[in-house]
Subunit: 258 residues, 2 copies
């Protein structure tokens, strides 16, 4: 069975999509077949992977289907990276939150859908929107673990407590197996004092939960999505590519050590 | 009556809170008494303004009150900047979205609350969360105009179309007076080619809607919130402070020219 990981943080713009896309590509290139599920109606992960058309459907169609697990296989599309597939999103995904109000077990629709996945993929990465609504809860219920991108900025620190409380609630009520795989510091700008201070604060509050790999702020990472490429395709020897390959190694080790 | 402005963009981390706080402070320092309403359960605007305790209550208490307009006056608190007040947020605000499901007119609770404001304030700025859920819709229903912060990054461009469609729907169904006051480009990094490209794309798609003022990426802007200060207090002569004072001038002109 695949290891399912939610990439989650309700703070906006901290690098969730960038991490899902580039961590996914790095895992695939290391021989671990990976599926990215775009759970955000902004469809940034879909777009970053160069997917412009979704003839087979999107995550919305899976979540509202009679039988989500049967529908899943029809929407999975390959990407330009061998071993990396994606379940695309679309703007109508924001409608699912409203349409599923009142449906019993609405927070477990994604878990049900992924049950139909089979053994093709070693990892499934769930890219979450910047909120803790129904789509993020679906991801947390479906996940074995979470990876939390934390931007090296003061305001990003503020929300971590709220996130950990939410994770605790989901663990207690909906998904007892959920665990925090780690926190990954993103957009680290070595020229600023602030970045170093934020890293030490996170280390102090969440000892041993930070990944050793720190993702630097590099313009290459923000350019790659405009070409529909991952950093591994766009600038394979750049600091961003090196960092995400290193993160993939840490993630694979932590995931298999259980 | 105050001019009510929603600071909105469902894309995360684009500078909504930074714009609400520093535009608000700049307007207040130019003699235009201003109220900032923190509509985000992350409470980043509340924290950025140095508010740690909320003994009188928060926006949550206003939205769920029998009479929101009577409750509003009790939660408004002054900030360290003369002429700048704030309605603070708290984490329980995310509960309001669920609690108000099924309540008639739930999208107009904030408009109702602001009706009780009187003539003290010239401007009200509504800092929205990174989603288009009930809290953002409440802000759009209560607002006379919107200011859209647009980060100078490719992924931030993607969501603008979806945002404009949503604004159109709110205008057509819930608030016919709503208009776009302008788009403000944020985190402009002159060292990158990408920033200039994004600015020209926005100019092409939304001619004449961009403010002339472009907010540069400066570390001072990201440091100020950790001291609970606005940029006008923390580094009054810095490029960030100069830019937000300039933006305040443009906003005041556009707001009064109707
Ligand atoms: N390490 C980095 N260096 C430079 N830019 C980055 C880096 N990581 C992400 N970015 C850019 O920062 C912006 C925010 O990143 P991203 O969209 O991945 O965050 P997110 O958490 O997914 O946002 P949202 O909350 O809207 O889903 C994007 O424009 C992205 O290209
Ligand atoms: N012009 C700027 N230069 C440098 N840093 C900035 C600038 N504007 C905002 N920031 C920083 O970038 C981060 C994101 O900004 P901010 O929190 O204001 O965005 P937001 O749109 O309100 O985010 P959210 O979607 O989570 O509400 C913050 O850490 C902030 O301090
Ligand atoms: Mg994202
Ligand atoms: Mg904000």
């Amino acid at each position: 069975m695949a290891h399912v990981m939610a990439i989650v943080n309700q703070k906006g713009g901290v690098g969730k999509t960038t991490t899902a896309v580039n961590l996914g590509a790095s895992l695939a290139m290391a021989g671990q077949r990976t599926l990215i599920v775009d759970c955000d109606s902004q469809a940034n992960a879909t777009r970053s992977l160069g997917i412009r058309e979704t003839p087979g459907g999107t995550l919305y169609d899976v979540l509202v289907a009679e039988d989500p697990s049967a529908r899943l296989a029809e929407v999975i599309v390959p990407t330009a990276t061998a071993g990396l597939d994606v379940v695309p999103a679309s703007p109508n995904l924001s409608g699912a939150e409203v349409e599923l109000v009142g449906v019993a077990g609405r927070e477990a629709r994604l878990r049900g859908a992924l049950a139909g996945l089979g053994t093709d993929h070693a990892f499934v990465l769930l890219d979450c929107p910047p909120s803790l609504g129904l789509l993020s809860v679906n991801a947390l219920v479906a996940a074995d673990s979470v990876v939390v991108p934390v931007q090296c900025e003061y305001l990003a620190l503020e929300g971590l407590g709220q996130l950990m409380r939410t994770l605790g609630l989901v663990q207690a009520r909906l998904n007892p197996r959920l665990r925090v795989l780690g926190l990954v510091m993103t957009m680290y700008d070595a020229r600023t004092r602030l970045a170093g201070e934020v890293v030490s604060e996170v280390e102090r509050h969440f000892p041993n939960q930070m990944f050793a790999t720190i993702i630097p702020r590099t313009v290459r990472l923000s350019e790659a999505p405009s070409y529909g490429e991952t950093i591994l395709q766009y600038a394979p020897d750049s600091p961003g590519a090196i960092a995400y390959r290193s993160l993939a190694g840490e993630v694979a080790r932590r995931a298999t050590n259980g």
